[in-house]
C-alpha cells in the first residue's frame, strides 16, 4: 500500500441507511443499492447525507497470495504505481486532482486484496469514478517512475520489517506457520524480488488482475444513488473484463493453503528488542467457515480487553510477566490463524513462559468459557460495530470486504446471526480442538543468537 499495510478488518460499517435498535448484533439492517455491470463489476451505493462528502472504495481481488516466487511484492508495488498516472489524466496527476479538491486518498495491500480509497467532497464523484476507470484500464507504468518507486518500496520494507522487531515477528510467524503456502510469503515482497522485478512483469500482472470482473466499488456518503449508478455505468461499463482472472483464481486450490505443520515449532529470531516479544500461532479456517465464529469469541474472551484471561494472569499480577498480551483470530480468504502475542518483561524466561502459556490455554477451555463471558464479548462486538460504522469509509470497507470475499455484501446478516448463536459448548469445543493442534511459537529478542 501507499502508506501502510493493513490486516483485513473483522468489522467495519457506517451509514444513514442503517437501522438499528438495542436488541443485539443482528438487529442492524443496511439499505444498499447494488449495481451489476455486464462486464462483471459490482458497485454498492449507500447514501448518507449528514455531510457534503463521500468515500469511494475500489477493491481488487488480488494480493500477496496471487504472486509467485520471483515476483513477490508485485501486488504492493503495483499499488504504488497506480498513483503514478494513467492515459486520460496523465502522469502524476491523481494526487493533485484529489487533494486539489479537498480530498484524500490512499490504498492498502493484504495477502488477499488490494484496496484504493478516496474521501472527497460531494461534487467530485463523477470525476473520481472517471479517474478510477482510467487507471483500471490504461495505467501508464512510466519507466522512470517505476525505478524511483522501487527505492521507495525498498525503504518501506525496511521500515516495516528490518527496522521493526514487531514487523519481523509477524513476518516470521507467517513464514513458519504457512511455510510452503502463498500465505507464507511477505506481502511487501522479498528484497531480491523487489530489486529484480521488471516493469513488464508488473504490467502483465496488472493486465490480468485489474479488470471489472475482479473489482468491487463501494460509494458511501452524500451521493444520489441514481446518479452514482449512472456514472459507474458510464465510466466502467465499457471496460473489458479480463479473460485470465477466473482461471487465475481457480488455480488457487484451498489445499495449497493448508499449513504442513505436523508438530510444534519454536523459532527464535535475533532482533533489536531488549524485551522478548512473541507470537504463538495455530492454523485455523478460512473466512466464512462456521468453525471460525467460536474461535473469534474465544480469542476475545481470553485476549481482548483489560478483563481478559491473559491480561489477568500475566499482567495484573504482583510480578507481571508481560507488559502486553493479546489474542486474536484472523480469517483469510483461503485459510486462517489463531494467535496469542505480547511482550514479556525483562528477566522472564521465554521457555518457561511458553510452557506455562500452553497449559493456561488448555485450562481456559474449562474455566473461562462461561455464559457471562460470551455475553460480554457480544456486547463489545456491538459497541465496536457502532464505532466502525460511524464514517462513510467504515461503511464502505465493511460492505466491500464482504462483497469481495463472499460475493454478497448481505452475508453480514448471517455473520452477525452466527455470532448471536454461538454457545458455551461451541466455544469450549473450539478451544479444546485448538489446544490439540500443532503451533508455531516465535520470538524476537536481542539476546537470541
Amino acid at each position: 500500500m501507499k502508506y501502510l499495510l493493513m490486516l483485513p478488518l473483522m468489522f467495519g460499517l457506517s451509514c444513514s441507511s442503517l437501522k438499528t435498535n438495542q436488541t443485539g448484533l443482528s438487529s442492524i439492517n443496511l439499505s444498499v443499492k447494488e449495481v451489476k455491470l455486464d462486464n462483471g463489476m459490482t458497485a454498492l451505493i449507500v447514501p448518507d447525507h449528514k455531510l457534503p462528502i463521500f468515500s469511494l472504495y475500489i477493491f481488487y481481488k488480488v494480493g500477496g497470495k496471487n504472486e509467485v516466487p520471483g515476483i513477490t511484492g508485485a501486488s504492493h508495488f503495483l499499488e504504488h504505481m497506480m498513483f503514478k498516472g494513467a492515459k486520460k489524466f496523465g502522469k502524476n496527476t491523481i494526487d493533485f486532482i484529489i487533494e486539489g479538491s479537498g480530498g484524500s486518498t490512499n490504498a492498502y495491500t493484504t495477502a488477499d486484496q488490494t484496496v484504493y480509497y478516496e474521501n472527497l467532497p460531494t461534487p467530485q464523484l463523477e470525476q473520481m469514478l472517471e479517474i478510477e476507470a482510467d487507471r483500471m484500464e490504461n495505467l501508464l507504468l512510466d519507466k522512470d517512475d517505476f525505478e524511483k518507486e522501487r527505492a521507495v518500496v525498498l525503504e518501506e520494507r525496511k521500515m516495516r520489517y528490518e527496522n521493526s522487531p514487531r514487523g519481523q515477528l509477524y513476518l516470521g510467524l507467517m513464514n513458519h506457520l504457512f511455510e510452503g503456502t502463498p500465505y507464507g510469503r511477505s506481502v511487501i515482497g522479498d528484497i531480491p524480488d523487489l530489486k529484480s522485478v521488471t516493469r513488464e512483469q508488473i504490467y502483465d500482472y496488472f493486465k490480468k488482475f485489474y479488470a471489472p470482473n475482479n473489482a468491487v466499488i463501494v460509494i458511501a456518503g452524500d451521493v444520489d444513488s441514481a446518479d452514482a449508478a449512472k456514472y459507474v455505468k458510464k465510466y466502467f461499463g465499457g471496460i473489458k473484463s479480463s479473460p485470465g482472472v477466473s482461471e487465475a483464481h481457480a488455480s488457487l486450490k484451498e489445499s495449497d493453503f493448508v499449513p504442513a505443520l505436523k508438530k510444534d515449532k519454536v523459532v527464535k529470531l535475533k532482533g533489536e528488542s531488549p524485551n522478548p516479544i512473541f507470537m504463538m500461532g495455530y492454523p485455523t479456517y478460512k473466512a466464512g467457515d462456521v468453525r471460525g465464529y467460536p474461535l473469534d469469541i474465544l480469542s476475545s474472551i481470553i485476549g481482548a480487553g483489560k478483563s481478559s484471561s491473559l491480561v489477568n494472569d500475566y499482567i495484573l499480577t504482583k510480578k507481571p510477566v508481560a507488559t502486553s498480551i493479546y489474542a486474536a483470530h484472523q480469517s483469510l480468504d483461503m485459510s486462517g490463524f489463531f494467535f496469542v502475542g505480547g511482550e514479556l518483561v525483562q528477566g522472564v524466561s521465554l521457555d518457561n513462559f511458553k510452557e506455562d502459556l500452553k497449559k493456561k490455554l488448555v485450562s481456559y477451555c474449562e474455566t473461562e468459557i462461561t455464559e457471562k463471558n460470551i455475553q460480554k464479548v457480544k456486547n463489545n462486538y456491538q459497541t465496536d460495530l457502532y464505532e466502525s460504522l460511524d464514517t462513510n469509509a467504515g461503511m464502505a470497507r465493511f460492505l466491500g470486504d464482504r462483497q469481495l470475499v463472499f460475493g454478497d455484501w448481505k452475508t453480514y446478516k448471517e455473520e452477525l446471526e452466527q455470532y448471536e448463536k454461538v454457545t458455551v459448548n461451541d466455544v469450549k469445543q473450539a478451544c479444546l480442538e485448538l489446544s490439540k493442534i500443532p503451533s508455531v511459537f516465535i520470538s524476537v529478542w536481542n539476546q537470541h543468537k
Binding site: K50, F96, G100, G102, E155, L316, T317, V345, N379
Partner: protein, 451 residues
C-alpha cells in the same frame, strides 16, 4: 463559573452544509452547575462523554503523577478490585480512557445509552473512592518501566520523545507527562490520592455526543461524583524563544534508517491569533501527498516514504515540527533539503501560484471532513474550549484560507521555522556523525538519559 457559548456559536461566516449541520447539532448549556457541550447524533443508541479537567501535568510534583493518577484510577476502590472493575466495564461493552497534557486532562467514557446510569455511576465511584493499592501500583510501575526500556525498538517513538524533551528544554512543558524510569519509582499511593483530590476540585466541562439520552450523563455525574469546581490551572507562559546550533544525534543499535525531527516550541505571543495561518502553513508543508515535503523528498527524489509537518497550539505555547525519515546514507541530505525548502518558502517569489492555489483548494475542500467523526470533533472542541476560543472559529477557516496570500505564507514560514532556532534530532546509526557534521555541529546523546 458560567460560560455563554451559545451566543458566540451563532456567529458563522460560511454556509457550507457541514457547517450548517455543525451549527444545528451543537448545543451548549449549563446543567446542574456544569457547563455542557452536546453534539447531537441520533445514528446509534450509543454515547461518548469527554470530561475536560482544567488541570494537567503542569501541577506534577513528580513527573508523570497526573498521568498515573488517571492510568491507575481503575486499579481498585475500597469495595472492588482492579479485576472486578475491568470486568464491569468490559461486560457493558463500555470503555474508559483519558489523555493528559501539561495544561489540561480529559477523561473519556464510551458506551450504549441504555447503560449510562451504571457505567457513569461506576466512573464516579472510581473518582470518589480510588485507593491506588500498592500491589497494583507496583505491578503497573514495573510494566511501565519495562515498556520505557524497550522503547529503543521503536525508533520513531524514541525520536518523538527525545525531540519533545530537547525542543522544550528550559520551559515548564519539557517534562514527560507519562513519567520517567526515575520518577515512576517516586510515585506513591498517597501522592496519587492527593492528586485525585486536586483533580476533583478542578473546573470541568462535560462534552457529549449521542442522542438526547446522552444528557443523562450529566445527571449521573451531578448525583454521584463528589466533584467541586474550585480551581483553575494558572497560565504558565514561555516568553523567550530558544536558540539552537547543533544537531542531536541519538545512536541506536541496528539502525539502517534515520528518524528525523526538526522543529521548535513557539511562545504564546508567537502563536496568539495565528491559528489559521499556521494551520495553512503546516498543511502546505506537510499535509497530504501533494504537500511540499512529500513532493520534494519522496516524489522527486525517492528519499523517504513519509514526511509531515505540524504546528500545534495549546493555551500558553505551541509546537512546530517536521517529521520524516530516510535511509542512513541520505539522512544529512534530507536535513539539508528540509532547511532549503523552508528557506525557499520564506521567499514568496519561490511559491508558485499553482501550488498555492492547489493548497487553498485542498484545505478549503477538506474542511468538511473535520466534522465527520464525533470523537475527533469532540477532542477538537475541547482544545478550542481550553483556549477560550469560540467554536465559530472552527467554521471560519475556509474563508480565512480564501483570503490568504503567498506573502502571508512566506511570512508565517519565517515566523515558525527560522532555521537558527530549530532543534534537530536524528535517531539512527552512530556513523551518521560525519555526514551530519557538514550540516551543523553534532552533539551525540545517549537515549537512556531520556527514558
Amino acid at each position: 463559573m458560567k460560560y455563554n457559548l451559545i451566543a458566540a456559536s451563532l456567529i458563522f461566516s460560511t454556509s457550507v452544509l457541514a457547517e450548517d449541520n455543525f451549527l444545528s447539532s451543537v448545543k451548549t448549556f449549563t446543567m446542574n452547575d456544569y457547563e455542557v457541550v452536546w453534539l447531537q447524533d441520533k445514528k446509534f443508541p450509543a454515547f461518548n462523554a469527554s470530561i475536560y479537567f482544567n488541570d494537567g501535568a503542569l501541577r506534577d510534583a513528580v513527573s508523570g503523577l497526573t498521568q498515573v493518577t488517571f492510568d491507575q484510577l481503575s486499579s481498585g476502590t475500597s469495595k472492588e478490585t482492579e479485576k472486578q472493575i475491568a470486568e464491569f466495564f468490559d461486560f457493558y461493552g463500555a470503555s474508559i480512557n483519558h489523555s493528559v497534557t501539561h495544561e489540561y486532562s480529559v477523561f473519556n467514557i464510551k458506551g450504549l445509552t441504555k447503560d449510562i446510569t451504571p457505567v457513569v455511576g461506576k466512573v464516579c465511584e472510581l473518582f470518589n473512592d480510588a485507593t491506588y493499592p500498592k500491589f497494583e501500583l507496583d505491578s503497573y510501575v514495573a510494566r511501565k518501566k519495562s515498556n520505557l526500556k524497550n522503547m529503543v525498538t521503536s525508533h520513531s517513538q524514541l525520536a518523538d520523545r527525545i525531540f519533545r524533551k530537547l525542543s522544550l528544554a528550559g520551559t515548564p512543558f519539557g517534562t514527560d507527562t507519562d513519567g520517567t524510569l526515575i520518577s515512576l519509582d517516586k510515585i506513591s499511593s498517597s501522592a496519587l490520592k492527593e492528586r485525585l483530590t486536586g483533580l476533583s476540585k478542578a473546573r470541568k466541562v462535560i462534552f457529549l455526543s449521542g442522542p438526547s439520552e446522552a444528557k443523562e450523563v450529566v445527571d449521573v455525574i451531578s448525583k454521584k461524583c463528589q466533584w467541586t469546581q474550585e480551581t483553575e490551572l494558572a497560565a504558565n507562559k514561555v516568553n523567550k524563544p530558544q536558540e539552537q546550533s547543533a544537531i542531536y544525534l541519538v545512536p541506536v543499535p541496528g539502525a539502517n534508517q534515520a528518524q528525523i525531527r526538526i522543529g521548535r516550541y513557539l511562545t504564546k505571543q508567537e502563536v496568539e491569533g495565528k491559528d489559521d495561518q499556521f494551520q495553512f502553513l503546516s498543511g502546505f508543508l506537510g499535509g497530504g501527498f501533494t504537500s511540499k515535503l512529500i513532493q520534494e523528498l519522496r516524489v522527486k527524489r525517492g528519499l523517504t516514504y513519509s514526511a509531515g509537518a505540524y504546528v500545534s497550539m495549546q493555551r500558553d505555547y505551541g509546537r512546530a515540527g517536521v517529521v520524516t525519515f530516510s535511509k542512513s546514507e541520505t539522512a544529512s541530505e534530507v536535513v539539508s533539503l528540509v532547511r532549503n525548502i523552508l528557506s525557499d518558502m520564506e521567499n514568496p517569489a519561490k511559491i508558485s501560484e499553482e501550488e498555492f492555489k492547489h493548497q487553498q483548494n485542498h484545505q478549503i475542500g477538506g474542511h468538511a471532513f473535520e466534522f465527520e467523526k464525533n470523537a475527533a470533533l469532540l477532542a477538537r472542541m475541547i482544545n478550542y474550549r481550553h483556549q477560550n476560543k469560540d467554536f465559530s472559529l472552527m467554521l471560519a477557516f475556509p474563508d480565512k484560507v480564501k483570503a490568504m496570500t503567498p506573502q502571508a505564507l512566506s511570512h508565517s514560514t519565517s515566523e515558525v521555522y527560522p532555521w537558527e532556532r530549530m532543534t534537530v534530532v536524528i535517531v539512527g546509526d552512530k556513523s551518521l556523525v560525519q555526514s551530519l557534521s557538514k550540516v551543523r555541529p553534532v552533539k551525540i546523546i545517549d537515549y537512556k538519559d531520556y527514558l
